[in-house]
Symmetry: C2
Subunit: 256 residues, 2 copies
C-alpha cells in the first residue's frame, strides 16, 4: 500500500516487457519478431512450443538481433510464459466473444508505462500465424488488444504487429530522437532585432518599402523570418545579402 514507485530509466522499463509467441509455425517469423523487438529496446522473448527452434532461418531473419534469440526462453505452456507478470495483453485481430473489452495499443500504453515504471513485469502475447490465440489462451490474459487497421485489409503479419505494439510503447516512453539531431546555434533576440532593422533600412533604400504605403510589409517579414527559426550563421548570411543589395553605386549609402 505504501510501496514506493521509483521512476526507472526507459531501458529498465523496457526490460520488464516480455514478448510471448504461442505455437509459432514459421521460424522466420520468430527471427523477424526478434529484430522488431530489438529496434524498440525489448529483449525478452518467450516461445511456447515453437514448431522449429532454434533455427537457421530464424537467425538469418533476426539480422543482428540474434542475441534476443540466444536468450529466448522456450516453455511448454502459457502459464509458464506468463508467470510473474501482472499485466498480460492478448493480441487479437478478429472479433472475439467472451473475454475482455477490446483496447488499442495507444489506449493501453499509459497503463503499460505505469506498470513497468513501478517495476512490474508485463507480457505481450501473440498467437499462431494462421488462427491467432485460442479462447483458452485469451482467458489466461487480463487485457485484450487489437491494432487499429484498415477494416478491409487487416493482414498485419506477426512481426509487423510486434513492431507496431513495441513502437507504441517505445514512443510513449521516450519519443525522443534528440541524440540524432544537430545541435542548433539559434540566433539571439538582439541579433534578430538588428536584422529586422537592417532589413527595413534596405527595403526603404531600394524603394520596396514605401513610406506612404500601409505598414503591413514589415510585420509580415517579421512573422516569416521568425517562423524560420533562424540560426546565428543564417542571420549573418542574410545580412551579407542585404549589404550586397545596397553596395552598388546605384543606391545611396544606408545610415551607419
Amino acid at each position: 500500500m505504501t510501496q514506493e514507485t521509483p521512476r526507472n530509466s526507459p531501458a529498465e522499463c523496457l526490460s520488464r516487457i516480455r514478448v510471448v509467441l504461442s505455437h509459432t509455425s514459421h521460424p522466420g517469423n520468430i527471427g523477424s519478431t526478434a529484430r522488431a523487438m530489438k529496434t524498440m529496446g525489448i529483449n525478452k522473448l518467450y516461445l511456447i512450443n515453437p514448431k522449429e527452434f532454434p533455427s537457421d532461418t530464424a537467425t538469418a531473419l533476426a539480422s543482428n538481433a540474434d542475441d534476443v534469440l540466444n536468450t529466448a526462453t522456450v516453455v511448454g505452456s502459457m502459464e509458464e510464459a506468463l508467470a510473474g507478470t501482472t499485466l498480460q495483453i492478448a493480441l487479437t485481430a478478429r472479433r472475439r466473444e467472451l473475454a475482455h473489452p477490446l483496447q488499442t495499443p495507444r489506449q493501453l500504453a499509459p497503463e503499460i508505462i505505469q506498470t513497468i515504471q513501478a517495476g512490474h513485469d508485463i507480457a505481450l502475447v501473440f498467437g499462431t500465424e494462421m488462427s491467432g490465440l485460442t479462447i483458452d489462451e485469451v482467458l489466461l490474459c487480463n487485457r485484450m488488444a487489437t491494432i487499429p487497421t484498415n477494416p478491409d485489409y487487416s493482414s498485419l503479419n506477426l512481426a509487423q504487429a510486434v513492431q507496431v505494439f513495441a513502437y507504441e510503447i517505445f514512443a510513449t516512453l521516450a519519443d525522443d530522437v534528440s541524440y540524432l539531431a544537430e545541435s542548433r546555434d539559434s540566433a539571439t533576440h538582439d541579433a534578430m532585432e538588428h536584422f529586422f532593422t537592417h532589413l527595413e533600412e534596405t527595403l526603404s533604400t531600394i524603394g520596396f518599402l514605401k513610406p506612404d504605403a500601409p505598414k503591413r510589409l514589415m510585420p509580415r517579414m517579421r512573422r516569416m523570418f521568425t517562423r524560420a527559426n533562424l540560426e546565428r550563421e543564417e542571420v549573418d548570411i542574410l545580412r551579407g545579402w542585404l549589404r550586397a543589395t545596397t553596395s552598388t553605386e546605384r543606391w545611396p549609402k544606408p545610415p551607419q
Copy 2:
C-alpha cells in the same frame, strides 16, 4: 484566407497521403511496403527509378495488396513524385547535417492530420535500403523525420519504417477498433444496487460480514465489483451464486 476546411472522413484523409520510395533496390521491399501501407488505409505509392518493377517478387510479398502495386506511379525524379504536395516528409535514420529540425512521427502527426483534413496532399519519402535519402533529396522536402528506436540497434527495414509511420498517422486519425468489439450489455445502476443489497444480506447470513466489525468490507466489495464493469448477465450469475450459497438448510432464509 477564408478557405473552408471541412472535416473529411478518415478514408478521404488517407487518400491524400502518398508514400514515395526512391531508387529501391529490392522489389520484395516494394511489395512489403504496399502491404504495410494498405493495412493502414494508404493506397498511393510513387516509385522513383526502382531497380526492378513490376516484379513477381514484389507481387508475392504484397500479399493481397497487389492493387497498391497495380496503381503505383513510376516516375523519373523526386520533383515529379512530390508535385502537388504541400508537406513532404523525408525519413532518415541517421544524423544529418543541414536541412530541417529532426522530428518524430508522433510529433509530426498533428500537422499531418491538419493538412490532410484540409484537403492538401502530403508525401512520406523514403530512400534506398542501404544509404537512405541523399542530401539533395532531403532538401527537396520541407520536413525531416526519424522513427525513435533503440539507439544501439536502429535497423528498421523499409517496410517496417513505412508500417510504423503509417500506423502513427492511422492511430492518430482513428484509434478505434469498436467495429470489432462485442456490443456490451452493461448492468444498470439499479441492477448493481440490488446486487449489492443481496451481497450484503448473504455475507451477513453466512457470518462473513460481522455486525460489530469495522464497516470496511462492503465499500471494498463495491469498489471491486464496480471496477469489473459488470454485464447484466454477469449480475444474474452472481446473484444465482448468492442464492445457492444460502439455499442449504444450514443457513436461515434471508428476508424476502
